[in-house]
């Protein structure tokens, strides 16, 4: 199949970017979207042009690096990562728009690559548990109910790709932050720092310049890990509770 790509090209963080059109011929339907971009880059290298910079790492849908907006939707709207999106999703002769995540807190580094270290700083603000080191505890020393374990696990599948921010009309990172909050709030290990955690992480989220949540739901609709929208209510519950409760009491 042949496709026409309109790709955001931006030389560096301060340069002005624009959409540039490229043709890619003889693409296999079984290729992943990234393999198709690799083909384009080979073609560009041969002709002496600068290849398109895009982020990627594991190429098996678990690292969250390869986020781009395809045809106006994060990861093409397929609720998967770009590496797991295959060319069979597109028609022969399709015109495909590819843009980076657009968020003030995710500045473009080059072309389709954005700086997502704002997420790291939100995690550093409280997305962890403090624990004394020593020998490994006995299995089942801290029992966890099945429902809580499932909910914690579902939330923990967040790979921090940033699709929620890219899709949100407010540029909010609430789904990401809430997934981390919910993951730890469901488990006994997360309890000692529960209320300080939610305060610090929300404060850092706002500090980074992400927008506020207005419960639109675009984030959950594009999340490659299907993190449900209700984790945001979990964060809100914990945040309200943190007004009245202190950790360890």
């Amino acid at each position: 199949m042949n496709v026409t790509l309109r790709i955001w090209r931006q030389a560096n963080a301060s340069a002005k970017g624009q959409m540039v059109t490229y043709q890619v011929q003889d693409v296999s339907k079984d290729m992943s979207f990234l393999e198709m971009l690799d083909m384009l880059n080979e073609q560009l290298s041969v002709s002496g042009e600068e290849p398109v910079a895009f982020d990627h790492d594991c190429r098996e849908g678990i690292c969250g690096m390869c986020g781009v907006v395809i045809n106006g939707l994060a990861h093409g709207g397929a609720q998967t990562t770009t590496c797991q999106l295959h060319m069979r999703h597109f028609e022969d002769g399709a015109v495909i728009d590819i843009e980076p995540w657009r968020a003030g807190s995710f500045p473009v580094i080059k072309d389709l690559v954005v700086d997502r270290t704002a997420f790291d700083r939100i995690i550093q603000a409280g997305g962890f548990i403090s624990s004394n080191t020593g020998s490994a505890p006995d299995a089942h020393a801290a029992p966890v109910g099945k429902l809580q374990a499932d909910r914690a696990f579902d939330a923990a599948t967040c790979i921090g790709c940033g699709a929620c921010v890219a899709a949100c009309p407010n540029g909010s990172a609430m789904l990401f932050t809430s997934a981390k909050i919910t993951h730890l709030a469901m488990l006994p290990q997360g309890q000692p720092e529960r209320y300080l955690r939610v305060k610090s992480m929300v404060a850092q989220h706002d500090e980074e310049g992400f927008g506020g949540c207005t419960n639109i739901g675009e984030c959950a609709a594009v999340c490659p890990k299907q993190i449900p929208l209700d984790v945001i209510s979990q964060l809100n519950r914990d945040l309200i509770a943190s007004l009245f409760k202190k950790d360890g009491k």
Binding site: N71, A103, G104, F210, G212, T214, N215, Q234
Partner: protein, 211 residues
């Protein structure tokens, strides 16, 4: 935003119920209007004073609601400083997209509403100082006024359709996919109830049932 929004929805539900008193005739309606203005919580609070406490409370709720909306809008615009060249949406509702501009429209028409019925600075078909019943009957015998009122109430109800569910989600009530369905369904019920309830009286006046 959520708390003030729910206060305003609560007010609208009571206001709508009060308007339906018009179906009980001029005396009942005027008596109710008079009671609101002078006798609520009397003798605990001197006559005619509760209304001012209540007005201050409503004004505070409105100002805080608009302030929060302004703050959220500014943050949202800063968070998406560069716009997408091509952007599509998957699941957002029309109501949720209309929150900001709908809010501006309904606030402007709220000023018009208060200028007519509370301050009586603007008056169509009735003289200043007219009783509550006389005022609404004169007003809503005019078709354009009923139409404008319908548009306004429509905008308010569209705002509430998203606002009701969103307020509860913000307060932590969206605990599961099922809760989300229930809250959205309730939001529909409240929005439709308010629309029907508020439009009943003007339509009845226009149709000549109330005169």
């Amino acid at each position: 935003m959520a708390i003030t929004g729910l206060i305003l929805i609560g007010f609208l539900l009571i206001h709508m119920y009060g308007n339906l008193k018009a179906f009980s005739g001029a005396d009942a309606y005027n008596h109710y209007a008079e009671w609101l203005k002078t006798e609520v919580l009397y003798p605990l609070i001197p006559k005619g004073q509760f209304i001012w406490i209540f007005r201050a409370f409503m004004l505070a709720a409105i100002v805080l609601h608009i302030g929060a909306a302004w703050h959220l809008t500014k943050r949202a615009h800063a968070a998406r400083s560069t716009k997408y060249v091509a952007k599509k949406t998957i699941q957002q509702t029309y109501e949720s997209r209309m929150m900001r501009w709908g809010g501006v429209i309904l606030a402007a028409l709220l000023v018009f509403h208060l200028a007519q019925f509370t301050v009586q600075a603007i008056h169509f078909g009735f003289k200043p100082g007219a009783g509550a019943y006389e005022m609404v009957v004169a007003e809503f015998q005019m078709f354009p006024m009923v139409l404008l009122y319908a548009v306004w109430v429509g905008v308010v109800c569209i705002h509430i359709r998203h606002g009701f569910w969103s307020a509860f989600a913000t307060l932590g009530a969206n605990t599961s996919a099922k809760a989300r369905e229930v809250l959205n369904a309730l939001a529909w019920v409240v929005a439709v109830l308010l629309f029907v309830g508020f439009m009943a009286m003007p339509v009845a006046v226009l149709a000549g049932v109330i005169k």
